[in-house]
């Protein structure tokens, strides 16, 4: 069918078909017409009037002969017989005249002319007989009989020729009908073929049209709807939001982000993730429909609801309903799946959809920061925080370049000797004369993609500072730098570390790169390659915050780490809680078996020191040994500590 369609797109093929059809019609028409012409020609020579003239003429002649022979037999012509003879002669006269006229009209025939001549010959004798009042009946009778015999022979020849013409006519009629039948059959066959072809082409066209319409509908649907959940997509959401704001309608916006969706996806597979997304879509669709709102999926696990109201009570109620509905477990392949949702709420912001989106997003961020599974309304307080955050984003680049970004050092202590053997460098921002802690600006830096610049700056400054200090004081303090996981998706980090070592001349083994696995660290193959390259340079790699969040035993198996830093959450209760103690003991045991160095973070009391040392921990870090301090103070304190008696810890 496609080939046929392609062929009919070519003008030559269409032109050829038209020529063939017209040519066939002309040929068929000519063929039939030629047969009809031949038929008409034959019919002109023969028609039933001519045939009838022959027979009637025979009858008229016979009538005359009978009257004459009767009269001759009776040897007298009675007046009645004479009148009959005159009438019969009139009949013959009219017949001969008619014969002649029809013959002239129909075309000359020799046998007809002979017959007409013979009839005229009889007519002349009859007229003579009437004129002479039948005075010589024997002669008249004999002569009439003789002329009648000649006329009979001529008429028979004529009629025989007419019969032949009749046969020809019938044969040609039969042939004409046969030709017509052939033409009709061919025409019917051609029309049938054309009809079938036209029907098939029509059907094909209808099917193609339906397919096109379906494809267009599909494309249209895909352009404005999310194929998985069937909800309006970001494009339609943006249109509807802009439209509502442009028309000055009261508008409330709920941005919804799922908590724990990645866990479901990673643990149970994408099909389970899809089931969760459909469950969420259904939940927000129901909630929004009740308030004549629009639910949309913006992408990933982000959803939104536009409501035609700025009534905060109503928005809160819808948010609570959505959170409750989403929290309802979903069963997929016999497994119970559950996620939570965080919501950011914002109401119309002077008809600016971008501003409204940013506000709702910030409120959502606040919900996430405040513990997830809740909603936050973008209000005056949040607005101030939002502005502060935005200001921070704007100030950060200058802070990085002009040196306002500094680092503090927190000592790491060898529990065996009680001496400081290294430090963890922690970023600090001197902003308008105030030290800004990292938790306030690191997330901002990460979101605004400035974390790389901060990490690199910190690496360069800290390594140079430590190297210089070690050189000046004959010490060999190591330095640990935290690197955001986003660095590990690129091998650029290897060059950055190499450059820092080269410029600072710090021995590689005194540098430790601390990494924390997060949800953003997806490309493990690439991260592993980067970590391996750093490791091969002699730089140590440490896993930070081990025991929390995403840092897991599985993580240990697939990285090339030299040490783990046990998170403070595993240490806090070890003095009062046996399970905590057992847990920490188990983790230390695993690390030992994996031949990893262990640094226990968050040590704040002497009792904790005694316990972890009893468990076999060798290194520790925490407020007990020193808070993060300006580098010079920290280094001076370390020198002083290391110069003092080691028993202060050992005992």
């Amino acid at each position: 069918m496609d080939r046929i369609s392609a062929a009919f797109l070519r003008r030559g093929v269409v032109f050829g078909c038209v020529i063939a059809i017209v040519g066939t019609c002309l040929f068929a028409g000519y063929y039939v017409q030629a047969t009809v012409n031949q038929l008409q020609l034959t019919h002109r020579s023969f028609n039933d009037r001519q045939l009838r003239n022959g027979y009637v003429a025979l009858s008229d002649v016979q009538r005359l002969v009978l009257i004459m022979q009767n009269a001759n037999g009776q040897r007298r012509m009675t007046p009645e017989a004479a009148e009959d003879f005159r009438v019969a002669a009139d009949f013959l006269y009219v017949r001969t005249d008619t014969f002649q006229r029809v013959q002239i009209t129909g075309g000359a025939m020799e046998t007809a002319n002979d017959a007409i001549a013979a009839l005229r010959h009889i007519q002349a004798l009859a007229d003579d007989a009437i004129a002479t009042n039948f005075d010589d009946l024997p002669y008249l009778s004999e002569e009439l009989t003789r002329r009648a015999q000649s006329a009979r022979q001529a008429l028979v020849r004529y009629l025989d020729e007419m019969r032949q013409l009749q046969d020809q006519l019938l044969a040609r009629q039969s042939k004409a009908v046969a030709n017509q039948r052939t033409v009709i059959w061919v025409t019917l066959f051609g029309l049938s073929v054309l009809g079938i072809a036209a029907t098939m082409l029509l059907r094909w066209e209808v099917i193609a049209k339906r397919a096109r319409q379906a494809a267009e509908a599909r494309v249209n649907h895909l352009a404005f709807f999310d194929p998985l959940t069937g909800l309006p997509n970001r494009v339609q959401f943006q249109d509807r939001l802009s439209s509502a704001l442009a028309k000055g309608r009261k508008t409330g916006l709920l941005l919804i982000d799922l908590d724990g969706f990645k866990y479901v996806n990673d643990t149970h597979g994408h099909a389970a993730g899809d089931a969760i997304l459909c469950h969420v879509a259904s939940a927000i669709q129901s909630a929004s429909a009740l308030q004549s709102g629009l639910a949309a999926r913006l992408g990933g696990d982000e959803f939104a609801i536009i409501l035609p109201s700025d009534d905060l009570q109503l928005l809160k109620k819808v948010s609570e309903d959505v959170i409750d509905a989403i929290r309802t477990p979903v069963f997929h392949d016999g497994e119970k799946l559950q996620v939570a949702a965080s919501i950011g709420i914002a109401t119309d912001m002077e008809s600016d959809s971008d501003a409204l989106m940013r506000a709702a997003d910030f409120a959502l961020y606040a919900s996430k920061s405040d513990g997830k599974g809740r909603y936050t309304i973008y209000d005056g307080t949040l607005a101030r925080q939002f502005l502060e955050r935005r200001q921070m984003i704007e100030d950060l680049p200058a802070a990085i370049t002009n040196g306002d970004l500094d680092f503090f050092l927190q000592p790491k202590v060898n529990l065996q000797t009680g001496q400081v053997f290294g430090f963890e460098a922690l970023a600090r921002w001197r902003r308008n004369g105030v030290i800004v802690p990292p938790k306030e600006f690191i997330s901002v830096a990460e979101e605004s993609s400035q974390i790389s610049d901060i990490d690199c700056r910190l690496l360069r400054d800290a390594t140079q500072h430590l190297a210089r200090f070690n050189a000046e004081n004959g010490t060999a303090f190591s330095i640990s730098i935290n690197f955001s996981t986003i660095h590990f998706s690129s091998t650029k980090l290897v060059q950055i570390v190499s450059d820092a070592l080269n410029s600072s001349r710090l021995p590689p083994e005194l540098l430790t790169i601390e990494i924390t696995e997060t949800a953003e660290m997806h490309d493990w193959a690439r991260a592993k390659k980067t970590i391996e390259a750093i490791n091969q340079m002699g730089v140590r790699v440490s896993i930070d915050d081990f025991g929390t969040g995403f840092s897991s035993l599985a993580y240990l198996r697939r990285t090339f780490a030299d040490e783990v830093k046990i998170d403070r959450s595993l240490v806090t209760d070890i003095v009062t809680s046996d399970p905590s103690r057992f847990l920490l003991d188990a983790v230390l045991d695993i690390a030992r078996n994996l031949e990893l160095d262990v640094i226990v973070e968050g040590i704040e009391t002497r009792a904790q020191v005694d316990l972890i040392r009893a468990m076999g921990a060798k290194y520790a870090q925490g407020f007990y040994f020193g808070r993060p301090m300006p580098s010079d103070e920290a280094l001076a304190a370390a020198l002083a500590r290391n110069a003092g008696p080691s028993e202060s810890i050992a005992s």
């Binding site: 009858s59 008229d60 009438v87 009139d90 006269y93 009219v94 017949r95 005249d97 006229r101």
Partner: protein, 166 residues
């Protein structure tokens, strides 16, 4: 609708034209060629007409050619429709006409309703001889005959001798 009205108007005009071609005429008696036309009525009752008794009905004059006359001639006679009406045959569907020489033909009613059929008893004011296709001949004005779809040459009977319903 307008087209139909136009056709009817044209028909009426044409009929009038043919009617004008047939002018009623007063004929003075003459000696006709002896002949007889027998009419069989609806009840089988036969009425015999001679050319002279035929002329007792309204007579008309018609100047026309026939298939056997290239030059026009004046025919006098009566209308077939009048003769049929006079004998109660105006509503019959068809009539069968037989000639003296045993020729027979069937004429449907549409013919005498469509065109005027003159039963001529005189030609050019003279008795209608058999050699002129008399004495009693069915004649139709040539123009009407040519344009009619129902009138045929076979209806132009000469030496007419009998009319009967079919």
């Amino acid at each position: 609708m307008q087209k139909l009205l136009a056709v009817i108007a044209a028909f009426i005009t044409a009929t009038n034209a043919w009617a004008e071609a047939l002018e009623p005429v007063e004929l003075t008696p003459i000696n006709h060629i002896p002949a007889e036309l027998v009419i069989a009525g609806p009840d089988g009752q036969e009425t015999r007409y001679s050319p002279a008794t035929l002329e007792e009905l309204t007579t008309y004059r018609l100047r026309t050619t026939t298939p056997w006359r290239s030059d026009p001639a004046e025919f006098d006679g009566i209308l077939l429709s009048d003769l049929l009406r006079a004998n109660g045959l105006e509503e019959v569907a068809e009539i069968r006409v037989t000639a003296e020489n045993d020729y027979a033909t069937v004429i449907p009613r549409a013919v005498w309703e469509d065109v005027p059929v003159l039963i001529a008893t005189r030609v050019d004011g003279q008795p209608h001889s058999r050699r002129e296709r008399g004495p009693i001949q069915f004649v139709i004005p040539m123009e009407a005959y040519s344009s009619s779809t129902v009138a045929k040459e076979s209806h132009l009977v000469w030496m007419a001798a009998r009319i009967e319903p079919r």
